[in-house]
Amino acid sequence: MSANRWQLLGFILLAAVVAAPVLVDSKFILHMVTLIFFYVAMTSAWNIPVFGGKMSLGHAAFFGIGGYTGAILYVKFGVSPWIGLVAGVAMSLLGGVIMTLPLLRLRGPFFTLASIAFAEVLRMIAIDWRSLTNGSVGLNIPFKPGWANLTFQSGLPFYFISLILAAAVVFVSYRLRHSALGFHLRASASNDEAAQALGVDTRRAHFIGLLWSSGLTGLIGVFYVFFIYVVEPNTMFSIPLFSLQPALNGIIGGIGTIWGPVIGAVIMTPLGEYLRFYLGTIQQGLNFVVYGVVLIVTVNFIPGGIVSLLARLKPSKGSNGPGSPSGAKEVR
């Protein structure tokens, strides 16, 4: 099959995923597709600092900050979720600043390590600060349907919200990657010293990239809490769920590219849910073993992810294609 046909196939598949809930009247499919969009958004947001080679495994921190802010304001103080969205983004940006400033001097594995520690500390605080967060029990969003409360009888509104969210984050990440900031980040990833020698303020670029990423992740967190009606520390700040999962989606699809995270999330979310429901009921934990094996195989055999496999099929056209296959290799 030629390259154009692959692209066409990709679009048809994407269109099918988008249209599925409208065509088939099934609550299960609607829920699944909504979840896919949430993960597309989350993975794309996580992926922005990866343009510059900064791989965080603590993005659950921003997700949790956003979610908790929205939920606490709504449940404890009766503040509208729509204001909660703004506040959630502001708080996760603040979290982004607090995490990023000291961590900027760290490269590669130490950045990753410190980001994990950051999310863990927030989880501890969320468990410990009972008066505000209700401890490990968490807070429930009361079921009062209506757009004002961001709570709905049907699943359709959240399907549209998540679709718009996913499209918006992918668009932002596309724009960022092709902006001056994106080039600075990619320059820093391939050779930081050289980029600095050419006058690029790479620290500033990493900082801004991480702020975009943390703000968007916080926004997704607020919506997600109203989607599942509950906020609870061991879910919101869960390393496997909201830190590792976007990273896993990213690497399967192809980190540091635009379409890699999308492809990864579209494939891995249904697979993950399937594994969790079917393997998880047979044997708790088996799904994570499968994840681990998939990761190791990917790292060893297709470090550039699925995007790099697709890119092999087409003649090189520069940056017009769906992300450059070299992305993952350059990222250090």
């Binding site: 990866v50 080679g53 791989m55 495994l57 000291p102 961590l103 001097r105 760290l106 490269r107 590669g108 594995p109 130490f110 950045f111 990753t112 390590l113 410190a114 994990i116 520690a117 950051f118 863990e120 500390v121 501890m124 605080i125 468990i127 410990d128 496997p240 590792l244 990273a247 690497i251 980190i255 044997q283 708790q284 934990g285 088996l286 994570f288 073993v289 994840y291 681990g292 094996v293 990761l295 190791i296 990917t298 790292v299 060893n300 470090p303 993952a328 290799k329 990222v331 250090r332």
Partner: protein, 295 residues
Amino acid sequence: MELIFQVLVSGLLIGGVYALISVGLNLIFGVVRIINFAHGEVLMLAMYATFWLNKFFGMDPYLSALLVLPAMFFFGVLVQRVIVQPIQEASSNMQIFATVALSLILQNLALIFWKGDFRTIQTSYAMSTLEVMNIIISVPRLVAFLVALVSILSLFSFLKHTFVGKALRAIVEDNTVARLMGIKVERLYLLAFGLGAAFTALGGILLIPFSSVYPTVGVPFTLIAFIVVVLGGLGSMSGTFMAGLFIGVVETFGGTYVSPALKEALYFGIFILVLLVRPQGLFGKGKGTEEIGLK
């Protein structure tokens, strides 16, 4: 006043075990140059092995070291050969994914085979204590500290005085030159990983008389070991030792005077502070920090 000494002593005792585990990590890290996110899982496996040997054969935890340590040495060698070696030249992000995946697999295999229960070994000496100048010292904790101390000292002298030890240090200093001098680097990687795993396993064996084992028991230890290694300076064994004691003391003081739940927040704070003020570590020579991204 007595409480302060009591807390200080408890901190130093547990710090010795932290130092042992971190020395294992530093050895792997210094020689093989890989960030092993599955480090705590080695500890977890060793603790389970000791637990089951005790459960089925009634073997004393300390005695089981004779079986568990060689087994974990080979486990370390296996990990290096099967998981790490194929990605030795890959980018550090890929290496992170591989060891994170390994940790995910091991944790969940433990969950599958042994369930999430907290398991403890009952021994006759678990509760025995000594009293020195009004300070109460738990015997298994004292044993843990002393064994850790002796093991670390023997590792020092091994690295300093034997040919293989010198070769290992040469690799830490300069990998390429070591290779050019005819050192079989790949083979020594296997040795370093095996030794690192064995030291960590010993930490697990020393812990089990006074702590329980469960599938995610290793997670905080991975974090602690990294903080200790960074604090002590990459590649500096004596620095690691001092930093281990330091973190042990900080932990017990924080747990006593602040809040046991916020211990991790305390480590993280120290971690960040050190990275800001002295990224080469408190005792480190700063060697290799450039390459691994600590500058």
